[in-house]
Amino acid sequence: MKIVNGKDFWAGVMFIGIGLGFMIASREYQMGSSVRMGPAYFPTVLGGLLAILGLAVFLRGFVSKIRDTLRVFPLRLPVLIAAIVVSAIAYWGADWIKGLGSAGNVIQYLLNAAGLLLFIAAWGPRALFIVLVATVAFGYLLKPLGLVLACVVLIFGSAWGGHEFKFKEVTVMFAVLAVFAVFAFVYGLGLPMNIWPELW
């Protein structure tokens, strides 16, 4: 058997995985009966149906008339290996790291975050990684650094994720957007946000 439609193949894998995942996770909850359905009843049924449909899509990947490459996403093997190594350390080394005291908590947190980031960076286009990391950074920096500095991260980051990056252009764009954001969101709509870092 040869996989002829990579998109169907991977979509099938995804649906089967999620369907089974929900069924397994539901086992923690009460099933109940058809008269009095417990919290596990509906998700178990839906998960099962999803897995069955996933199987159909999966099998179609072998017989489909439409040809699609199996490599739907670009994959970076070295990054993936790094992601697995870091996550393995974070998981199995958890007890040892905990022994380090308060610094251990920070290290554990950083290791978890690095593992997740590497997993995301291991596949997909450049834009996916850079733009989304810039967005998450914006979310976490908004309170401590204030809107303007968080905008620096977001605008430069997301512009860098595109295919054309001219420093001058992006600086002007940042200035315009930051001024607009401060006036529209903070003064105009009255959203409770710091404009400058908290210490100032």
Binding site: F22, G54, A127, T135, F138, S158, G162, E164, F185
Partner: protein
């Protein structure tokens, strides 16, 4: 009839207040703007503005959000005609003949006829809502849990039938949506389901984050990826003159506009329906009826007028299931439910009797908004054209910024921003695997409702599922749902459907 007139009078009284006129204007302008701009649609925009509407009175909030939706249908056609790029999904069909007209130097009449056709269709659709919503709401008041469950089944089947591409994948996406909707605290038992001990998940997965991530961020990343691979388009922006179509054009189009608006209004009411299906169906019909169908695809003005009339009518009548049954028929309507709930209004048939000013005010505002769109957009077309020449690399950082600020302000915590980013990844994967996100979105909204009604229905029938087939309204819905599935699977329709979506 008298009741209708007094209701409409009440509605116009609300819609014509200065404040509501301003919000309506703001909504339609913003809608047109994002309709014109490729890469951001009404779903992401409404999701972005939801937190803002919290501070507005309910009527004004809904009027503005509705304006964004039908304004986007108007704007979408502008970029379809001038750049061959559908600014909004429903204007995919407009590209076919609209762009060809522009290439022949008839961009002006194409834009003109689409605006005028949309206005006529919008007026018609407003009347349809005013006439049909009240009787439907009366029927809906008799609904029990079994009827609601069957209705949701019908709505979800409708959504899958409409999805592009594979039917199996679309149904799988509905199931996935239903499952994701169940995450959070179970109302009956109080058990926190699938939360993995994360306290933020005990209230469920944030709906706005899903909508913005999948439809907003996913789209941006896809655009950036395809831009990196190159691909410029020819823009016809410099020679748009004389927007008014000639008398001959009007003669050619009057039939098309009429057919488009009737078909569009009918298809919009269907659960799972809306603007997209309406425009496809209207184009196909027009091609069938036309004497010179060979002209289609080569700049036939009927090929612009009919789908434009249909998508505008469909966009408006898709409010009917929302207003009468409380069931969303597409992702935008699902967001409208979110907006109503934020305002403390439970969507459903009781809205019409308990909050008549809200219901009729919104309907009246649709007509007012349509009028504004015609009056404003014809002179403003130059501005929209200028916007179209702004390169994407200036647009998307701004879109990302507005999305991020909007999502952050939902609960003033980075959690929602993080979730939205993760949903952006999911959206990208779905697009790559050709899994349509709209059915997922509907399932997501309906998940908890469906479970609740299923439980109640089964409790009342003492665990006998036959209850769904013995109650007449419930049975009717299930039969329609089965019928829809059968006709989609039928080989003849199947090939036609694939043909229609290939144009995308």
């Amino acid at each position: 009839m008298e009741g209708l007139l007094s209701n409409l009078a009440l509605g116009f009284g609300v819609a014509l207040s200065l404040q509501n006129l301003l919000y309506c204007l703001g909504g339609v302008m913003l809608g047109t703007l994002i309709g014109v701009l490729p890469g951001i649609g009404p779903v992401a925009t409404i999701a972005m503005l939801l937190p803002v509407t919290f501070t507005l009175p309910p009527v004004s909030a809904l009027i503005m959000l509705a304006g964004i939706y039908y304004g986007a249908q108007y704007g979408g056609s502008t970029s379809a005609i001038l750049v061959n790029l559908p600014g909004e999904v429903a204007s995919v069909v407009t590209c076919l003949d609209g762009y060809q007209m522009a290439r022949r130097g008839r961009a002006g009449p194409a834009l003109g006829i689409s605006a005028i056709g949309s206005f006529i269709a919008g007026t018609f659709a407003t009347i349809v809502i005013a006439l049909f919503a009240p009787p439907l709401a009366e029927v809906a008041l008799k609904f029990g849990p079994a009827e609601y469950f069957s209705l949701m089944v019908l709505g979800l089947v409708g959504a899958t039938v409409l999805a592009h591409g594979s039917l199996v994948k679309a149904i799988a996406m509905v199931l996935l949506g239903l499952l994701l909707g169940l995450v959070g605290t179970d109302v009956n038992s109080g058990v926190a389901r699938f939360t993995f001990g994360i306290p933020e998940l005990s209230d469920g997965i944030g709906f706005v984050g899903v909508a913005m991530g999948v439809f907003g961020f996913g789209e941006i990343i896809l655009n950036l990826e395809s831009q990196a691979k190159g691909g410029a388009r020819e823009v016809f922006t410099n020679k748009v003159s004389n927007l008014l179509p000639s008398v001959q054009d009007f003669k050619d189009c009057s039939g098309s506009i009429l057919r488009g608006m009737v078909l569009g209004s009918a298809l919009g009411i269907l659960p799972g329906g809306g603007a997209l299906l309406a425009s496809f169906a209207a184009y196909t019909l027009e091609k069938k009826v036309s004497k010179n169908s060979a002209n289609f695809g080569k700049g036939a003005i009927q090929g612009v007028a009919a789908p434009e009339a249909a998508n505008n009518a469909g966009a408006q009548t898709s409010f009917i299931p929302l207003l009468t049954l409380g069931i969303p028929s597409n992702p935008v309507m699902a967001l409208m439910i979110g907006a109503m709930m934020i305002q403390g209004i439970a969507p459903g048939p009781q809205v019409m009797t308990e909050r008549p000013e809200l219901f009729w005010g919104m309907i009246a505002s649709m007509w007012v908004g349509n009028l504004m769109l015609v009056v404003l957009n014809l002179p403003l077309i130059g501005l929209w054209i200028k916007l179209l020449t702004v390169p994407y690399r200036f647009l998307y950082p701004a879109i990302i910024l507005f999305c991020s600020v909007g999502i952050y302000s939902i609960s003033n915590s980075p959690w929602d921003v993080l979730m939205t980013s993760l949903w952006g990844i999911a959206g990208y994967i779905f697009a790559k695997l050709e899994c349509e996100p709209a059915p997922l979105m509907l399932g997501f909204i309906l998940g908890p409702l469906m479970e609740e009604n299923l439980r109640r229905a089964m409790l009342l029938s003492r665990g006998d599922p036959i209850v769904f087939f013995t109650r007449p309204i419930s049975l009717t819905m299930l039969v329609i749902a089965a019928f829809l599935l059968v006709i989609v699977i039928a080989p003849a329709v199947r090939s036609k459907r694939e043909e229609a979506f290939v144009a995308d």
